[in-house]
Symmetry: C2
Subunit: 217 residues, 2 copies
Amino acid sequence: MDNLSVGIIRVFTTEDQEITNSHGNKIEETYNIRCINKCIHQQPKGIYDEESETKAIPKIIELAKEFENHHKVSCIAISCAADPGLELVRNEVSVPVVGAGSSAAHMAKTVSQKIGILTIANEVPQAMTRILGDSLISWRKPSAVNNTADLLKGYAIENSLATAKELMRDGAEVIVFACTGYVTIGFGDILKNKLGVTVIDPVETEGNALSFILRGE
Amino acid sequence: MDNLSVGIIRVFTTEDQEITNSHGNKIEETYNIRCINKCIHQQPKGIYDEESETKAIPKIIELAKEFENHHKVSCIAISCAADPGLELVRNEVSVPVVGAGSSAAHMAKTVSQKIGILTIANEVPQAMTRILGDSLISWRKPSAVNNTADLLKGYAIENSLATAKELMRDGAEVIVFACTGYVTIGFGDILKNKLGVTVIDPVETEGNALSFILRGE
């Protein structure tokens, strides 16, 4: 697996290389995969509505082609829980492409039929609900958490823990993050330690799928 | 992960410990998980029709309870591509339960939308088709291969390779085994080496899901 690398697409723009690399670093540590991390251009706020998604998709496709043609990666991940452009990217490149959202939803369904989603928005990505179907028994958003930046505020961990407890009261046996921001704040480990619940983290499942593909190369 | 073990349920009866352990051994080698392997009782022909499935399911549930209560396993796998009794077992034990068939179908969907199934029967397990939906673009059975025993015959590899090529001509980008018998004959490696196609092996995906769960324990 030593010579193989994967391309990690971040669907926003930042000049901060540490932020750009954060998902890839987690995947490298967990699965020993060499990751090349890149952001799409000129979209510092990322994807937050239909218009911003429409604007982002051609850039995601362009970046995927660059990963395949220039960096010669073995596979590509679109590292966002909403899987923006997944099907379109698959039509444009020949290497396997994984989306963080669908990888998380599929892993959740593989291990449980009683799934709760922790999100930051007033809706759950279709990329996840389509797959989860009847197994999605509840989804909730912590109070005063409305975007990724809110997850960095002092109260975010406490509020998110309270919401996770509610998901468990609703009957959820596993909790899926519908935003990779929960990964950034290390909320998966907190949740496992405090509540002992199975956590499905989209960056981890994305890495798991990439690792599965590479093992077969 | 050292003290954690998983229970592997084989849905047929054999006195041959090497055969009983074969799936668990593969999972141990690939994922470094301690597996306890057990067969259901008094069903040497396994599951081959509705009646034999109905007969097997209470035994699968009983074995799952034994794994949880006596062996104190951390999770359980029903190691058959048809996932017999999966939902019922989940209702009866408190540890996570994985089915080989659904784990393979979910991994296939995670990495591709153009999926071919290689089977040994005249149908594909519902446990797989339900998940694959429109992404299942073709399924085929090698000529003169009608049961697991046929896979051990001299011609089986050659016929199966010919059928895999047909699946690729149909447009399949990944090939999923709908029978764990293909795993037993090591056909995954042959297929990857000869045709360079991504192969989804239900024992490997089952092990991958178990490994994912244990990593969170």
